[in-house]
């Protein structure tokens, strides 16, 4: 017989000490009295971890956590909660309900259990296309609260107090950004949600919008109220069709329910949102380029000042926040700036979402409190490196982030620590690299991306990254010299300081950080013409060992006719003719070909 309620009582040592057994007896007695015994299940759990508030019990459904009660309170609890379905507020432990709400669903999975989900709190829990689902989890409550109870400057005050910083990468304090935009006098202002996520392998913003689009709508409306804007624009890349569909539906549903449009919730505040699609240029994630793109121009950054807060979209004061930043807003309003600022490190508050990728067992999205170490993410949540390979580096911050070596694994994740280590927070890419990767080649790979995506406007980024790429190519082909490493440093440092926008200023990071942390590999490439990971094709040497039985398979496979030898005799590779294609290596059944 299915139970209507389930009571889980903490049976940990601390709670037991507080007469757990007597409490169970009292509950059973009360249930009997009300003839509810068949409808309520009772079980004992291990330590629920809230020992200070013990005894603790959880009543489901509803996930009400009771604490600080005695057996004398049991009749009231059964009478009110079980019989009348009215949880008794004074016993309920509420301080970390967000965490608990999430924990209830996924908490038993190790991967999730070690995370803390704020921005992604509803992802995977609600039906993203159903506004009622969102509302049932306190959706739009924050908007209602600010519109009815909190003056705009107080809203900004709360955001400032929370310590929230921009999650798009630069980490500018969100509250100050709001304040600067609110301060400008204009008949028209804009709130833009930057959903132009362009880092290869990153999908934080996409997942956030696909999983919980209403949070973004609510965050934008709150921002609009705080800064005095009537119009919001979600700038999202066209390559995210599902996210586009869901955000559009969310906007339409919110409008229908009166959370957007004229006179929202009867408060006199009007705000509406439209969606603009980007064509997938990486640089359009840069705020000034993004605005030009919305205006219908080619997305190219322009010098700042003037900052968007003063002269932004169509010359109006404009607030641009990233998806993840906005997703934090309703939580800060509902749960308080103080609670939010209790999470994270001194200068970086709250959590950060990372897209974990590369040579790691559990790839995927993780949201962790600021201050979590790289090691914890990679080894505890990510499950370490597959195939028991040796860890070599982790790259944070997308294609323009730096590569950190093993010694940085205990770096705490926050804006300052990552910058000090020579990388960036970026928008949250995290790529793990193992011993099979060549760091010179990795740097080349990322630089190729940034060079292709450079908008072509400023000289250092357009021309400089091209020359760096040429030098790197030279090095990976064994044509590099010691001087080339110096040239990379010289160009890289200049580009970093002289480029017009953030793309150029961070483009040399992969190169500069790999030279800093893996200089020996560069030296090997230029001095010994050797690639220790065996990745750089031009530097490979193929040799035939004594295992050769003279089957001639390699000779037939070689496209360059570099292999000679009579049947049933050991064959030989002419290194001058060899094009290093690896065909012989692949075809040899006897493992007789050595690659080094």
């Amino acid at each position: 017989m299915p139970k209507r309620f389930n009571i889980t009582l903490c049976d940990g040592p601390s709670c037991m000490h507080k007469n757990s057994k007597e409490i169970v007896a009292a509950i059973e007695a009360q249930l009997k009295k009300h003839e509810l015994s068949d409808h309520v299940g009772i079980n004992l759990s291990g330590c629920l971890g809230m020992c200070a508030r013990g005894p603790v019990m959880i009543i489901n459904p509803g996930y009400s956590i009771y604490g600080d009660f005695t057996e004398k309170d049991i009749p009231e609890i059964i009478e009110q909660h079980i019989k009348k379905n009215k949880p008794i507020a004074r016993f309920i432990i509420d301080e970390d309900h967000l965490y608990n709400r999430f924990f209830r669903v996924f908490g038993d999975v190790n991967f999730f259990g070690k995370q803390m989900r704020i921005a992604l709190r509803n992802c995977g829990i609600i039906d993203p296309e159903n506004i009622d689902d969102y509302i049932s989890l306190r959706g739009y409550e924050a908007l209602a609260k600010v519109l009815t109870d909190i003056a705009p400057e107080k809203v900004i005050g709360q955001i400032k107090k929370s310590g929230l910083r921009g999650r798009g990468g630069a980490g500018f304090p969100t509250g100050i950004k709001w304040e600067l935009t609110a301060r400008e006098k204009s008949d028209e202002k804009f709130v833009i949600c930057n959903a132009d996520e362009g880092d290869p392998g990153a999908f934080m913003d996409r997942s956030a919008i696909e999983g919980d689009p209403h949070t973004i709508v609510e965050g934008m409306a709150i921002a609009g109220y705080a800064i005095g804007a009537q119009k919001g624009i979600v700038y999202i890349r066209a390559e995210y069709p599902l996210a586009v569909k869901r955000i559009k539906k969310a906007i339409a549903d919110a409008r229908k329910e009166g959370f957007l449009g004229q006179n929202i919730l009867g408060t006199g505040f009007s705000f509406d949102i439209e969606v603009r699609l980007g064509a997938g240029a990486f640089v359009c994630g840069e705020e000034t380029a993004l605005m030009l793109s919305i205006e219908g121009h080619r997305g190219m950054p322009r010098p700042r000042p003037p900052f968007p807060s003063v002269s932004g979209l169509f010359g109006r004061p404009t607030l641009i926040n990233n998806v993840e930043t906005l997703a934090n807003i309703p939580v800060i309003i509902l749960d308080g700036a103080q609670w939010f600022s209790s999470l994270g490190t001194e200068k970086s508050k709250g959590t950060k979402v990372f897209a974990l990728a590369g040579k790691i067992k559990n790839t995927g999205l993780v949201e962790v409190p600021m201050g979590t170490t790289l090691r914890q993410i990679i080894y505890n949540i990510g499950g370490g490196i597959p195939g028991d390979k040796q860890f070599k580096a982790v790259q944070t911050g997308g294609p323009s982030g730096g590569c950190l070596s093993e010694e940085y694994l205990d770096t705490k994740i926050d804006y300052e620590s990552l910058a000090a280590a020579g990388s960036i927070m970026g928008s949250g890419g995290m790529i793990v690299i193992d011993e099979d990767s060549c760091m010179v080649n990795i740097a080349k790979f990322f630089l190729e991306f940034t060079q292709n995506e450079s908008c072509g406007k400023c000289t250092p980024c357009r021309e400089g990254t091209k020359r760096m790429l040429e030098i790197l190519t030279r090095i990976t082909e064994g044509k590099g010299s010691q001087e080339d490493i110096d040239k990379l440093l010289r160009l890289g440092n200049m580009i970093k300081k002289a480029s017009l926008c953030g793309l150029g200023q961070s483009a040399p990071n992969p190169v500069l950080s790999t030279i800093k942390n893996f200089r020996a590999e560069y030296e090997e490439h230029v001095r010994d013409k050797r690639c220790r990971a065996g990745v750089c094709r031009h530097l490979l040497v193929y040799e035939i060992t004594d295992k050769c039985v003279g089957c001639s398979a390699c000779k037939k496979a070689c496209p360059a006719e570099a292999i000679s030898g009579a049947l049933k005799q050991k064959h030989l590779i002419d290194v001058n003719k060899c094009v290093k294609c690896g065909a012989c290596f692949k075809i040899c059944k006897f493992g007789a070909i050595k690659k080094s």
Partner: protein, 588 residues
């Protein structure tokens, strides 16, 4: 006033200006490339970077405002090196053909590289390679020489509002091109040539006909006839490293004869003739026979702009040909008759301040008896080169007079070269044609000067005539939109395609090493050279020009008569603009 420190010395400067502006006034010339005072701030080249204490990165001094207590280093070892590396990077992707380049000796990049002290190159690699676009009648586009400073894109969109140019592709492959990379001739380019004026290198140059002309000048079977536009004489000295403002009228006549021309005429003569026709046409319209306001039609870039973007106003535009085409038409008819020559044997060459005139010459509407009336158009820059190349000492040559019958001009014809000049000249004549009295106060100050849109009023015979003048196609847009909204506002409108009028034409000498292209001071000096010529003439009204009077008596009959219509008037056709239509323009 605030205090800033430049290179460890304190200075009092005005607030609300950029570091570059403040430094300029203090005598620090920070090197620069994409910056142009008339255009929006691009911040692209990064040559003007400086160090500001407390800033993580270098800042572009063209874009960054000064603030109290700011400590700036313009010339530290670090900044010098970064700046040199940046210029080096530009050179690395630039053809190394300086001594065969059109801009050799006149190139901003060349000067900058010299000033940076680049003696060694560190980062050479792949260079871009594109085909030159030779399709246009007037402007050659060579992306290989382009350093992507964006000045051409900005002048075309911001000053001219034509938007013929934009960026395409990304990263190293970024290139400036017309929409869809269509041939220049098919694009909305009006051929005004302002991109050439502002280009720091030779990415834009005029289509050069000098070698061809040298060839033809040696052909004894041809009768070589030249005409010179007013603005050529006002600016050519600059191509000989002289300060702007000195005119070379008589010297040019002598130089052209030395180059091999048999007859040297003055476009100013036909400017007088244009006034006779245009003033008469205006009075016709003013008396109710035709549409008002009447808009002038001398500027070739404006002709193309009109047909593409403002076809709804074609009826408002005067049917008069430009002075160049009027002169050419007469050279191949009236003058050919006079010297009893076959018009086909006449080589009619126009020396113009203008690249768009090369386009105008190719317009089929302007043919006379089935032959092209202007055979070749040579810009001031090309002429300067020809003079140098032929070894003619322009600075010390003895001046000579123009030939008759198409060489004598009034002061009214002279001021055609300056914005407002056509209007002023037309009024001098229209007043007298209408009232029968001579206008005494002939200098109309409110339509002189470099203000973008100038308005004025005068009373002729008790009737108020409201006039307006615009120079630069962007300013023209503004006036035309006013005309659309309020057709009664003006009676007579002058439009010139280039900033400053013809004196700022796309074929004028490149800016000297110490000035910027389109420098206002330079334009004003060129204008003053023409106003000076006007002042020193005894005949300053077109209708008083005795050669013009004789021409009507002997050949044309009367203004707007049948002969005039055949030779001196033309028509315009709406054209579908290809590529991107500027958003503020509506084509009906």
């Amino acid at each position: 006033m605030i205090t800033i420190h430049i290179n460890d010395k304190a200075y009092q400067v005005e607030n609300d200006q950029t570091i570059m502006q403040a430094a300029d006034k203090l005598g620090f010339h920070i090197p620069r490339l994409c910056y142009h005072p008339k255009l929006s701030i691009e911040g692209a080249c990064r040559v003007c970077i400086v160090e500001v204490v407390g800033m993580r990165n270098y800042v572009a001094s063209c874009a960054y405002p000064v603030s109290e207590g700011m400590k700036i280093y313009t010339n530290s070892e670090e900044i010098r090196r970064a700046r040199r590396d940046i210029v080096e990077l530009i050179l690395d992707n630039h053809p190394e053909d300086c001594h065969t380049c059109e801009r050799d000796g006149n190139c901003e990049l060349q000067r900058l590289a010299f000033a940076m002290g680049i003696r060694k190159r560190h980062f050479e690699g792949e260079k871009k390679h594109y085909e030159k676009d030779l399709s246009s009648t007037s402007v050659i586009r060579d992306p290989n020489k382009c350093i992507l400073c964006g000045r051409c894109v900005r002048i075309c969109s911001e000053i001219q509002k034509v938007n013929a140019l934009g960026y395409a592709h990304r990263g190293f492959k970024t290139v400036v091109m017309p929409a869809y990379n269509m041939p220049f001739k098919d694009s909305v380019c009006t051929t005004c040539g302002q991109c050439i004026n502002v280009c720091p290198t030779a990415a834009f140059v005029e289509k050069n006909f000098t070698q061809e002309l040298f060839g033809k000048l040696g052909d004894r079977s041809l009768i070589k006839v030249a005409q010179i536009a007013p603005s050529v004489r006002a600016a050519i000295g600059e191509a000989f490293a002289l300060e702007p403002g000195r005119q070379f009228e008589k010297e040019l006549v002598a130089a052209l004869r030395k180059l091999g021309f048999d007859h040297v005429f003055d476009t100013q003569f036909s400017a007088d003739l244009t006034i006779m026709e245009e003033a008469s046409e205006f009075l016709e319209r003013f008396q109710g026979r035709g549409k008002l306001p009447m808009i002038t039609s001398c500027s070739s870039a404006w002709m193309k702009c009109l047909e593409q973007f403002h076809p709804d106003l074609i009826e408002n535009v005067s049917t008069c040909k430009s002075p160049m085409s009027m002169a050419s038409a007469l050279i191949k008819s009236y003058f050919a008759d006079k010297i009893k020559a076959d018009p086909k044997k006449i080589l009619s060459v126009a020396f113009m301040c203008c690249t768009a005139k090369k386009y105008e010459a190719s317009r089929p509407e302007l043919m006379v008896e089935g032959i092209q009336s202007t055979d070749m158009v040579i810009t001031t820059r090309e002429l300067a080169w020809m003079i140098k190349s032929a070894g003619i000492d322009l600075l010390h040559i003895k001046g000579e007079e123009f030939d008759h019958p198409l060489g004598y001009s009034s002061g009214a014809g002279t001021i055609f070269g300056v914005t407002g000049g056509v209007m002023e000249a037309a009024i001098r004549t229209a007043y007298e044609l209408y009232t029968g009295e001579t206008l005494l106060d002939i200098e109309i100050q409110e339509i002189r000067g470099l203000k973008g849109v100038k308005e004025g009023k005068l009373v002729i015979d008790g009737k108020e005539i409201r006039i307006a003048v615009a120079h630069g196609l962007g300013n023209a847009n503004e006036i035309l939109n006013t005309v659309r909204k309020d057709p009664e506002r003006y009676h007579f409108v002058e439009i010139m395609g280039c900033p400053g009028g013809c004196i700022g034409g796309g074929g004028q000498p490149y800016a000297g090493s110490n000035s910027m292209p389109l420098d206002e001071e330079c334009l004003m000096k060129r204008a003053e050279a023409l106003y000076g010529l006007d002042r020193n003439k005894t005949i300053r009204r077109s209708h008083e020009n005795p050669d013009v009077q004789r021409l009507y008596k002997e050949f044309l009959g009367r203004p707007l008569g049948p002969m005039s219509h055949k030779l001196l008037h033309t028509h315009y056709k709406a054209k579908e603009p290809r590529g991107i239509i500027p958003s503020e323009l509506t084509v009906k």
